[in-house]
């Protein structure tokens, strides 16, 4: 319908963006009637999203004919941004940014490097950057879930963890069940993506390839390739971030320091101080 009204692609894009954002806002308003308050976060996220993607679009336009190292630089910058986003989600976990950066860079970076080396990902900027960014954003989601789950598991099981410590257990041993749980839980979305591929969703990359006229069978196979790479990156990231974050919950004297904020105040909990 919109295509009839606009001949200019940019104007069309803006209107389409407005329509999509409007729908997102509508959902937010409906959520509000159910006492689920997402207004601020949704608005900020929408605005950020559009500004960021436009900036990236312009950058891509500029970098299209740039030297090869710009690709590496761009991917590195994406990893830092992903780590910062993830770390915000894990507020209260000490060293969340460092853990996130290490896990995302190693998780997504390994897969990108290996697959580029093997020739699965084309070295052209127009291919490496979008696919790399998908892997990074997937690693970021997994990392956020790992950290978030780890924090809530540890906060919910402080009594058991301290009991294990009080019995002479090493911190690693005391949190082992929760490290495992957060690692497993964070991989559920990546696993589901793999399971439901093609049935529930035809992902962006394949859609894009189809739109640009690629062979549908190759587009389909390549989509599987990217989802499998995403899973590999997610798996690496989850393993790393759960192992790295484990050390962040304890002091050098093997005391559980990652505790609910309320417990830090006297009388906030029976278990006493922070």
């Amino acid at each position: 319908m919109l295509q009839i009204l606009f001949t200019n692609q940019l104007a069309l894009g803006c209107t389409q963006a407005a329509a999509a954002a409007g729908l997102a806002l509508l959902v937010m308003l409906i959520a509000r009637t159910r006492e689920i308050h997402l207004e601020r976060e949704t608005l900020v996220a929408l605005l950020r999203g559009i500004v960021q993607i436009i900036v990236v679009g312009s950058l891509l336009l500029l970098l299209l004919r740039g030297p090869a190292w710009t690709t590496v630089l761009l991917l590195a910058a994406m990893m830092v941004a992903a780590a910062a986003t993830s770390a915000r989600r894990a507020a209260g976990v000490p060293g969340a940014f460092r853990v996130s950066l290490a896990a995302i860079a190693a998780g997504a970076g390994t897969v990108i490097a290996l697959m580029t080396w093997a020739g699965v990902i084309d070295t052209a900027l127009t291919s490496l950057v979008p696919i790399g960014s998908m892997l990074i954003s997937n690693a970021m989601n997994t990392n956020s879930l790992t950290l978030h789950r780890f924090r809530s598991e540890v906060e919910a099981h402080g009594g058991l963890i301290e009991t294990a410590l009080a019995l002479g257990a090493a911190p690693q041993r005391a949190v082992a069940p929760y490290v495992q749980a957060s690692c497993q839980a964070s991989l559920i979305p990546a696993l589901d993506s793999l399971n439901s591929l093609g049935i529930v969703w035809i992902p962006g990359l394949m859609a894009g390839m189809l739109l640009s006229g690629a062979d549908p069978l190759y587009a389909a196979i390549y989509q599987f390739v990217t989802i499998a790479m995403m899973f590999a990156a997610a798996g690496f990231t989850a393993l790393l971030s759960s192992l790295l974050v484990r050390g962040q919950a304890f002091s050098p004297a093997e005391q559980l320091t990652l505790r609910p904020q309320a417990a830090a105040l006297p009388g906030g909990s029976r278990s006493g101080s922070k």
Partner: protein
């Protein structure tokens, strides 16, 4: 990334070596022997340099022990000493810092100032795991691990690579009144039973000091009386040095040799139970 990995490594290095308790005094056979022993021979023997000839050597001693969290003095300059085989009750109004004080004694929290001496040794020189093996804790709510009662009892020794023999498990369970129930799932236990398991689990580590944080306050009256009687009996039998937080003065009077009274994190009074209870009454 490198920095983070390095931090992680440093943290691991900061962790002490694994427990060094391979000596005969901690072996299960010793535990078994000590469990069977009921004679009143000299309690814990200490071999430090600075031994006092007149008084029994303090097993546990706090020196200006303080913990301050965001400008709140949870524990404020508490210096006490507990003699071998003694039961010291910690009393005080809620929020007085009783539990905070107890958590400092096995270093579950870090003192902001001051320290604790365990058999004359500054506990910061001990590996936390070894310290916590020697200073057992029974919490108000028993946090039992999923699995059987026996699994819970084996947990402590297993951390040091020791396997608690079935006879020792049977003996410990007999002592806490749960004979023959080693294979019961902990999910099916009543509050009183769970607290008994928690006690047996702490004992399985052969501690020299036992910390009790309101061990009966989460129980119903009947279980409370049973567990209290059991505690008194076990602490004497194992010749444990014991620090017990309580809000129940009558209980403190029944179990404790001495009582300390905390208020606003500060030590108000310490002395024989009868004496301090009187002071506490006049404070209100």
């Amino acid at each position: 990334m490198l920095r983070s990995l390095k931090l992680f490594k440093t943290h691991r290095q900061a962790l002490p070596r694994l427990a060094v308790s391979q000596g005969p005094q901690f072996s299960p056979s010793f535990l078994r022997a000590s469990l069977l022993q009921t004679s009143s021979q000299e309690p814990v023997r200490t071999t430090g340099k600075q031994s006092y000839s007149a008084e029994p050597r303090p097993v546990l001693q706090t020196e200006h022990l303080s913990r301050i969290v965001s400008a709140t003095r949870l524990v404020d300059d508490v210096s006490i000493s507990v003699r071998a085989g003694e039961i010291l009750a910690v009393l005080g109004p809620s929020g007085a810092g009783k539990s905070s004080f107890l958590r400092l004694l096995n270093r579950l929290d870090e003192p902001t100032r001051g320290t604790v001496y365990l058999a004359g040794q500054d506990y910061r020189q001990l590996a936390p795991r070894e310290l916590r093996r020697r200073v057992g804790l029974v919490t108000q709510t028993p946090f039992l691990f999923p699995g059987t009662i026996a699994d819970n009892l084996r947990f402590g020794p297993r951390q040091r690579g020791e396997d608690l023999p079935a006879e020792t498990i049977a003996l410990l369970l007999e002592q806490v009144g749960l004979a023959g129930r080693a294979e019961r799932d902990t999910a099916t236990l009543s509050g009183g039973e769970a607290q008994r398991v928690s006690l047996a689990r702490a004992l399985a580590n052969s501690p020299t000091v036992l910390l009790l944080d309101e061990p009966t306050s989460a129980l119903d009256d009947e279980a409370k009386a049973e567990v209290e009687a059991l505690l008194g009996q076990i602490v004497r039998q194992h010749r444990l040095t014991c620090v017990m937080v309580s809000h129940d003065r009558a209980q403190a009077a029944r179990l404790a040799d001495r009582v300390m009274f905390l208020k606003g994190g500060r030590l108000e009074k310490i002395g024989p139970a009868r004496e301090v209870m009187h002071v506490a009454d006049t404070l209100h």
